[in-house]
């Protein structure tokens, strides 16, 4: 570990802690329908949209109606995206380095569409070999905006239920999505894209160029509208990169500054949503408790991973290789990491993106040391509540909060209540099932993949067996269940021998199972989150007294972390044993 590395991490934390409350305050204004400085700019457009689509933004919806609109919106988005991706041959400028891009087969497209609809951005395809500019811009990037907006809308609706003092309404879904895109995602992405472009990130519709490499062999350099996708990819915890190698590609993430900037974009909205929550329920301290919980768990992950990677891998030590910090090298385990980022920035990036359901990576997770690689696993096992995805992190941790309140609340001798609202059978039922879905999909999908003959036959590494294959499969389904999208490599659902999808074939088993898992693990918890908001909305509020369990102090933070860790650990520990833990114990790298 280096002073420089730690300095960057500390500055990063300071910026996050300093700026997220400000953004959070802005978000609260947006969702409480107050006037913000962008209202004069977009207000007329917003009203025009409502008129055009016949939406009465003032008409509040109960949770069922809200959910219905959400599902309808998502279904329409799914169909449109599928149509766009399957009609690539019709796209204009369809000439990429002399190659025409056909559409990927139906099964891969099913997986990709489901992936982008659910904010997962699991990518079996590689962007520069598969997707036309039309698909990237009008298809995938549009869904990156929409799916993030849906996530935030669900969080906002659930919070309205928790904060609600009367009635059962949670707001208007269409208004929430529209306002999210107009007042939050679009302006922030616009600025972020400009910053990225200033650092050398591409933004063009040029033809792929051909140059001779150092070795004299001609190389095709992919081009494209990268910055516009990169911005929302990071802000919206999407993670689906323009290029195959995602944020380790120099056109996506050219230097240390963009790396730092990207991680900040990844965390700023999930962190700000916590402060927004505080504003909406009228208590900064409640927000501080949740913020602290997330921060402690995230910072712990960064520290562990940084220490593990800086220490170097057992293989390096066994071979007697130098792992110390020396001039021009940060030492440690640099396998699979970009030299221009080094260890601190790689770790900060990957820990943050696996914690936030972003899933973009700037270094290869499978090349991490046993312990360092355990951090992404742990982040995923915690069900995306360490910041989590935009909105998803907030509504998921609120489910854990309710669970912690229920167990802890009993121990102070009252029937449990959260912010004055009693947590009773109905809420517990919804929380218990809501929290059950991710383990269910992750474990069952992994079991199907590793134990069924169809599953094993479909993936080359699985046919070979061994702990690494298990890690890859388990990570794949854990990632898709958590709508994260990061991968431990090796696990493939698409075979594209030539650029442009000619003669390509999808692995139907992996594509459909993964797509199904993503859809189920996204929409089922959303329904439960909305239902919880709906049930809580109409509840009588008891005043807080000395006998009430406080949910805004250190004890509660400890309890909440305990519940998250215990539930996550107890659910996934047996599976983790067979993959990452056995690998860590045998002292091998992940490759």
């Amino acid at each position: 570990m280096t002073v420089n590395g730690w300095l960057q991490i500390v500055i990063f934390c300071a910026l996050l802690i300093g700026l997220s409350p400000i953004v959070g305050g802005y978000l609260a204004k947006v969702y409480m329908g107050e006037r913000v400085f962008l209202t004069p700019v977009f207000g007329w457009f917003e009203r025009g949209l409502y008129r055009a689509f016949g939406v009465d933004a003032k008409r509040e919806q109960d949770w069922k109606s809200y959910a219905k609109s959400l599902l309808l919106f998502s279904l329409a988005g799914w169909l449109i995206l599928y149509l766009i991706l399957r009609t690539q041959t019709l796209d204009p400028w369809n000439n990429y380095g002399g190659v025409k891009f056909y559409s990927a087969p139906w099964n891969v497209t099913f997986n990709t569409v489901s992936s982008f609809l659910t904010n997962t951005n699991w990518q079996y395809y590689s962007g520069e070999d598969t997707m036309t500019y039309v698909s990237q811009m009008l298809g995938l990037t549009v869904q990156q905006f929409c799916s993030s907006a849906v996530g935030i809308a669900v969080a906002v609706a659930m919070i309205r239920g928790i904060a609600g003092r009367s009635g059962k309404n949670l707001g208007n879904f269409y208004a929430d999505v529209t306002r999210t895109i107009l007042y939050v995602l679009l302006p922030m992405s616009f600025i972020a894209a400009l910053v990225l472009v200033s650092q050398g990130v591409l933004q063009n519709l040029s033809h792929y160029t051909s140059v001779d490499g150092i070795s004299g062999i001609a190389q095709t350099i992919a081009q494209g509208p990268v910055a516009s996708m990169e911005a929302i990819k990071d802000l919206g915890s999407n993670g689906g990169g323009f290029f195959d190698v995602n944020a380790s590609h120099p056109f996506e993430n050219p230097n240390g500054f963009t790396n730092f900037f990207i991680v900040f974009m990844v965390l700023i909205l999930p962190a700000s949503l916590v402060w927004m929550y505080g504003r909406m329920v009228g208590s900064r301290r409640q927000a501080l408790a949740i913020f602290t919980t997330m921060f402690v768990m995230w910072f712990g992950g960064v520290t562990v991973a940084y220490a593990a990677e800086a220490h170097g891998s057992p293989a390096q030590h066994a071979a007697g290789l130098h792992t110390q910090v020396i001039a021009d090298s940060t030492g440690g385990n640099l396998e699979g990491k970009e030299q221009r980022f080094g260890i601190a920035d790689s770790v900060l990036f990957d820990v943050s993106t696996t914690a936030t359901s972003n899933g973009s990576v700037n270094s290869a997770l499978e090349s991490y040391t046993g312990l360092g690689g355990a951090v992404p696993f742990a982040n995923l096992s915690a069900s995306e509540v360490i910041w989590g995805g935009v909105g998803t992190g907030m509504y998921s941790i609120l489910m854990y909060v309710i669970l912690a309140v229920f167990i802890g609340g009993l121990m102070v001798g009252r029937t449990p209540e959260y912010l004055g609202k009693k947590i009773e059978a109905k809420e517990i039922k919804l929380v218990a099932i809501g929290l059950l879905i991710t383990p269910l999909t992750a474990l069952f999908a992994t079991a199907l993949a590793v134990a069924s003959s169809a599953g094993r036959a479909s993936i080359p590494s699985l046919a070979a067996g061994g702990p690494q294959a298990f890690s890859e499969s388990f990570y794949a389904y854990l990632s898709q269940s958590n709508n994260n999208g990061s991968a431990f490599a090796g696990y493939d659902g698409y075979n594209n021998p030539n650029v442009g999808n000619l003669h390509s074939a999808g692995v139907t088993f992996a594509d459909l199972l993964g797509g199904g898992v993503m859809l189920l693990a996204r929409y089922a918890p959303i329904l439960f989150a909305l239902a919880i908001g709906g049930v809580l909305a109409g509840k009588r509020v008891s005043p807080v007294g000395l006998g009430t369990m406080r949910t805004d102090n250190g004890t509660f933070v400890v309890l909440l972390i305990g519940v998250i860790v215990l539930v996550g650990a107890l659910t996934f520990f047996p599976a983790l044993l067979l993959g990452p833990i056995v690998q860590a114990l045998t002292g091998h790298l992940y490759s």
Binding site: A425, I433, L435, F444, A447, G547, T571, L577
Partner: protein, 692 residues
């Protein structure tokens, strides 16, 4: 917390009484009936596991193989036995909790004798045939044939059958002491009673049903907790179900016995086994304090109470006024006034009168020898509102201010102007002034104070620390009420309270989201008792009050509300603590069972152990002893915790945050550590028995 006013506590029936133990043991096996178990999802899963392992054992005995293929049959047998024992232990917890109540019910039942009722017209009829509205006559020595209201007469009644209190109580027609309970005995005089119960639905019948738990239904919080436990069970079923395919991928066939052992170890069996016992024990703790909760829901609600409405008289104050000061008129010595007051009170046997005599002694005035002169006592009457003595030619009187003034005027005297000022001041301060006169002269005023019970301020402080607001309800005027409220330390007061005002106060508090508890005895309390979340009716009260409340206090002690709240809190804390303990236990069980299951997984060679075996941090002897030890620990922790769940985790009024921290340390951290120690200890024994 100690109660300032001693509570009559029923002797706890020992858990280890022979008949209770035998019956509980028998019941533990009877409850193995799946139709009983299915109500408890956690234990039902254990029972199914026990059945499967037993079947596997038989298959092995018949020469078949388990799914794992390698386990010896004795291992399957041992696991099966301990799984059955786990269910039996859970049943035992419930059976013991029920046993105590049943023993109490039996005692009560023995009192429900067949009596003949004498009707108004002199005919007799079996008590069981009495209808609501029948009029019966009961004379000294007879049992009252049914619940009813005294409509004529006054009598002393021995209610020890119900209350356990041997001193007879007075029951009379009219007023708030008119209710009589079937099965109690009239010890003097004769009363006419109108029966108010339907046949077979007497108070005694209800009491028997309650302590027996015959009508026990799951309370709302119990249902919620059960759902959580079912949810956790479901998660662990998914974990265990997928472990088999995972194992196969790693070339490890995990047997059904090992999988079931893992599942049972992980699901929250401890709390699942003890949950219903905790609920029954909570009701039982109230019964032992002579409180009958008519529903478990009411007990639970009492833990949530935010506001206590307390009647001033009898709860906050002693209810009788005590002399605290002599205030002489100008030109009169204090001792002179004290002496006159004492003389005037000598024959006054009321607590007020006695307190004047006691106070006068502090002025060095000895009791006069009344035989030395010619003394004629003048008793208090409602007309004169005075009492006193004519002694050695002097007329001494004490009484209400205006009465005494009128009397003095009749004697030709005049009241000094200072008198009215003093009378007004004392009234303002919440006291009662008594004027004292000798012949035509008014000597001064005795200040009678309504004394606040000792320790009330501390008690209210404790309640405040518990997060409970206290509101004093009194018929006094605002000034008086404010004064007493301030002196006693109560948070708020309702002065000049009418039944309507009381009801309105409760509704207002409830509209603010607060849960309200109150006590009451009079018929006019009934609407408020019914409206309150926890309404405790005094047993001495009217039938209407007893029917409106959701608890009845057989001791008729209003201070008991505070204990009821504690019992409610204790009940919830015990549930939460054991849930936390149960879940925290899982960590150690993983470290015991998983290395054992994966002992050969991805081992370097056929003779070496899996790299995962280093996770056997407890250094348990061998895989089979490790799994068995975890299951044995899981089973025996249930009977070990039965006493705690019946007694309840102690409640301390130290504020919610401190309480949570404390319980997290004990049951959270303790719950993580305890099984490491326990499983290791059991393994040392098991492993040695297996021959090392």
């Amino acid at each position: 917390m100690s109660t300032p006013q001693a509570t009559h506590e029923r002797a706890a029936i020992s858990l280890f009484r022979r008949d209770i133990v035998i019956r509980a043991l028998l019941d533990s096996f009877k409850k193995l009936d799946p139709r009983v178990q299915v109500r408890n999802p956690v234990m039902f899963v254990v029972e199914i596991g026990a059945v499967i392992t037993t079947v596997t054992w038989f298959i092995q005995l018949g020469g078949g193989k388990s799914l794992g293929g390698y386990e010896p049959s004795w291992f399957t047998f041992s696991i099966a036995i301990w799984l059955w024992l786990t269910v039996v232990f859970a049943n035992m917890a419930e059976a013991f909790a029920e046993g105590r109540g049943r023993a109490q019910a039996d005692t009560l039942r023995s009192m429900r004798k067949e009596t003949m009722a004498t009707m108004e017209d002199g005919t007799t009829r079996p008590a069981a045939e009495l209808q609501r509205g029948d009029i019966v006559v009961v004379v000294a020595g007879e049992l009252i044939p049914g619940d009813g209201t005294v409509i004529d007469g006054i009598a002393t009644v021995d209610e020890s059958a119900i209350t356990g209190e041997s001193a007879p109580v007075i029951r009379e027609s009219g007023g708030d002491r008119s209710a009589v309970t079937g099965g109690t005995r009239v010890t003097s005089d004769r009363i006419v009673v109108e029966i108010t119960q339907e046949p077979g639905k007497s108070f005694l019948d209800r009491m028997i049903a309650l302590v027996e738990g015959a009508e026990r239904r799951k309370t709302p919080n119990e249902i919620a907790l059960n759902i959580l436990l079912a949810g956790l069970t479901l998660i662990f079923m998914i974990v265990v179900a997928t472990l088999r395919p995972f194992g196969l991928f790693a070339h490890t066939a995990i047997s059904e016995t090992a999988l079931i052992a893992l599942l049972v170890a992980l699901i929250p069996t401890t709390i699942g086994a003890l949950l219903s016992a905790i609920g029954i024990a909570g009701m039982d703790r109230l019964v032992r304090r002579n409180v009958l909760a008519l529903s478990g829901r009411a007990v639970e609600a009492s833990g949530d109470v935010d506001v206590l409405l307390l009647d001033k008289t009898g709860t906050i104050t002693l209810g009788n006024r005590q002399a605290s000061e002599f205030i002489p008129m100008p030109g009169v010595a204090e001792a002179e006034l004290a002496e006159a007051a004492q003389l005037a009170s000598l024959a006054d046997e009321t607590p007020e009168g006695r307190s004047i005599v006691v106070l006068a002694k502090q002025y060095g005035i000895r009791e006069h020898d009344m035989s030395s002169g010619d003394a004629t006592f003048v008793p208090f009457t409602a007309q004169t509102r005075m009492s006193g003595v004519d002694w050695n030619g002097k007329q001494l009187r004490k009484g209400a201010g205006d009465s005494v003034i009128a009397w003095v005027r009749d004697q030709g005297g005049e009241a000094p102007p200072e008198l009215q000022a003093q009378l007004d001041r004392i009234g303002r301060e919440g006291g009662t002034p008594l004027a004292v006169a000798r012949d035509s002269q008014i000597l001064g005023v005795v200040y009678l104070k309504d004394t606040i019970k000792e320790g009330m301020r501390e008690r209210f402080d404790q309640l405040r620390a518990m997060g409970i607001r206290t509101v004093m309800v009194t018929g006094d005027n605002r000034l008086t009420a404010a004064k007493i409220a301030e002196e006693s330390g109560v948070d708020d007061f309702l002065a000049e309270a009418t039944p309507e005002a009381k009801l309105a106060l409760i509704k207002e508090q409830q509209a603010g989201g607060r849960l309200v508890a109150m006590t009451g005895d009079g018929t006019n309390d009934a609407p408020a008792l019914a409206q309150a979340d926890v309404g405790v009716a005094m047993n001495t009260g009217t039938q209407a009050a007893r029917e409106a409340g959701n608890m009845v206090d057989l001791d008729s002690n209003p201070t008991k509300l505070i204990e009821i709240v504690e019992v409610g809190k204790q009940l919830l804390i015990t549930r939460g603590a054991l849930t936390t303990f149960s879940i925290a236990n899982d960590v150690a069980k993983y470290f015991a069972i998983l290395p054992a299951i994966f002992v050969t997984t991805w081992a370097a060679s056929h003779t070496s152990k899996s790299p995962l075996w280093v996770l056997n941090v407890m250094k348990l002897g061998n895989p089979q002893s490790a799994i068995l030890s975890a299951i044995i620990f899981n089973a025996i922790v249930i009977p070990m915790l039965i006493p705690l769940s019946l007694r309840g985790v102690r409640y301390r009024p130290i504020g919610a945050s401190a309480l949570l921290r404390r319980n997290l340390w004990i049951y959270g951290l303790g719950g993580i550590i305890a099984p490491f120690v326990g499983i290791k200890a059991i393994d040392l024994i098991v492993h040695n028995l297996l021959g090392g």
